[in-house]
Amino acid sequence: MTEQNKEAGTQKRAGYFCIYTPIEVIAAAGATPIRLFKGGDSIVVNSGEVYTRSYFCQFAQYSVGAFREDDPLYRSIDKIYHFNTCDQMKKGVEAIGEFFDVPYKMLCLPRERNRDASRQFMQREVEFFRKDVEELTGNPVTDEGLREQIRKYNQARQWVKRLSELRKQDVPPLTGGEFLDIVKAFYYLPVETSLKYFEEFYSHIAAEKASGERPIRLMISGGIIADGDRRLIDLIEKELGARIVVEDHCTGLRPFYYPIPEDKPPLQALSDGYLDTAPCARMKPLEERLDFSQKLADEYRIDAIIYVSLKFCSCYSISKNSFTKRFHGLEIPVLDISADYSENDLGQLRTRIGAFFELIRKGDSHAAA
């Protein structure tokens, strides 16, 4: 943040939805990056449906609805940057721009990270992104500034990962619900502030001695689990007594797993680093994503997986087939949940997840859907 901006109180806020946005660029321009991922409220979803369609994904509809409902955080955003990951979010961002006069910049994200052309293209997109952020803020984004932000954000990623690793213990001292709060700090707070929290949390929690019986250890996999979408987590952990020990999705551990390289020129470091992050199901080949899921499952010694895809998310609802096949082969049970932000199916979810746990506790290692 530049001194002038601080004094004038004109620090710009740049909003983004997907984790493929190199937020280091925003921070290097003295602006605040804020991830817009509240979600979880069906009334806001219904509001968004005025501009979308009922068969849009719940998160995309929510994102549009939040602007229509004048959500103060969403309305405080000066500009939205969207690295195009899926079609529904792309159209959602366009609707936000068109109907609510919110400036936005659409950027492209290649699907095949291993091709040279993709690398070159991504680097040009990040360059383009940098120029746009410079225009928005009126501040130059220097290589030195980028290097500094890359270092800071890498530190934060490292802390989140270390906090997550505490959950590798038989009785994890940290719940999945708590881990979501830690992750929220990364997306909502300035990196300097979140670093302080992470260090404090780590020193406390690492010193704790968790006791008790080894709970059912779960991995949650699939699409986005929004900030406000807590009912599944609460049902699993608070009511049914299992523990989420690792998340293979974009609001859990996944984006914190790999750092941005610090030994390359900053623009290249960012474009390579973001392309090489643990992959979303929109990337190709899908096998790379499955390999990563399997790696997490091994590392965290999980008993079972709950695969959650939001209603009408074409990406995660289709790729679940390959996912389930992979883990059936490994004899790890997978429960497939098609979720939305309504409240009327809690009874059914309780039964499905409860029966899934009964099946795991009995030591049967088959899958249920």
């Binding site: 708590e178 909502y188 929690i205 608070k238 009995k362 088959h366 859907a369």
Partner: protein, 294 residues
């Protein structure tokens, strides 16, 4: 003697109770109503009367179904097990060679694969969270052609050319049925068509877990002969006849679980997580950001 176990299946529409005294099965049934505890208490009272025993004679109670969470029977050990496991256990008790169960209840339908060695669930699928393919669907369609849900199945058996009903959604199916009525299609043909439509839906669930004989049909809708015929036609499977009304399979399974729990002295797993103070200031700060007040 410690041989009296009680299972209660508090379903979305109907509550069922089974009291196992040795191998003698006593049953009771009533509408679920609004107050599930009262319904549960009434079922217990009726079963005690039928078996001629006192409440204190019961060793263990297991509840299942939608209402299983909130029940309490002062003093008697109580646990809850999901209706998926209970239907499997109950069907296995009645017919040990059960490998596949189709359960159609008031508000959901399930396909369950069972291990014939022990009656445990191997795999299961539930319908999506809407009324398509459930008892509620049949009830609403019955009303729209002027029949009760009990009559619907009988009438369907008299069909000559079952009508084509393609909508899975209650609301759309209702208008489809109204237009069939307008075309003078007979009540029987419409009824048969509706059953086939539900059977196709449930047949999809079954094919996802795989149909392996012996197949058992449980849940309230299993009493409907038209539904049974339509399901047999769609799935090409033969359903096994049970010695007990299959509507009680869940409650019976719960009673069998009560017996097992009592034997293994299983205590209900209580895990209440408390919010940690450590996170309080972070949560407060995040709250301010979320309201853009920071």
């Amino acid at each position: 003697m410690n041989d009296k176990f009680l299972g209660l299946d508090i379903g979305s529409r109907t509550a069922k109770g089974v009291l196992l005294v040795g191998d003698t099965i006593h049953t009771a049934i009533r509408p679920t109503g609004f107050h599930m505890q009262e319904t549960g208490d009434a079922l217990v009272k009726e079963l005690l009367l039928k078996a001629g025993i006192r409440k204190s004679d019961i060793t263990h109670i297991v509840g299942t179904g939608y209402g299983r969470i909130t029940l309490d029977f002062d003093g008697i050990p109580y646990g809850d097990v999901t209706e998926i496991s209970c239907h499997a256990k109950g069907a296995h008790y009645l017919h040990p060679n059960t490998r596949t169960i189709v359960d159609i209840g008031g508000q959901d339908s399930k396909a369950i694969r069972v291990d014939p060695r022990n009656g445990k669930v191997v795999d299961f699928v539930l319908n999506d969270k809407c009324a398509a393919g459930t008892g509620k669907f049949l009830e609403m369609i019955a009303t729209s052609i002027g029949l009760t849900v009990e009559e619907l199945g009988e009438v369907a058996l008299k069909a000559e050319r079952p009508a084509r009903v393609t909508s899975q959604c209650v609301v759309f199916a209702e208008s489809e049925v109204i237009s069939l009525k307008a075309q003078d299609v007979s009540q029987a043909d419409i009824a048969a068509g509706v059953h086939l439509s539900v059977a196709r839906r449930v047949g999809n669930l079954l094919s996802r877990v795989g149909i392996e004989s012996d197949v058992v049909f449980t849940g309230g809708v299993s009493k409907n002969k038209g539904m049974r015929r339509a399901l047999e036609e769609v799935t090409k499977a033969n359903f096994v006849d049970l010695r007990l009304d299959a509507q009680y399979a869940g409650a019976l399974g719960a009673a069998v679980y009560a017996r097992e729990h009592a034997a293994s002295n299983t205590v209900k797993h209580e895990s209440r997580l408390k919010d940690r103070d450590l996170f309080a200031s972070l949560r407060e700060e995040l709250g301010r950001v979320r309201e853009a007040a920071a």
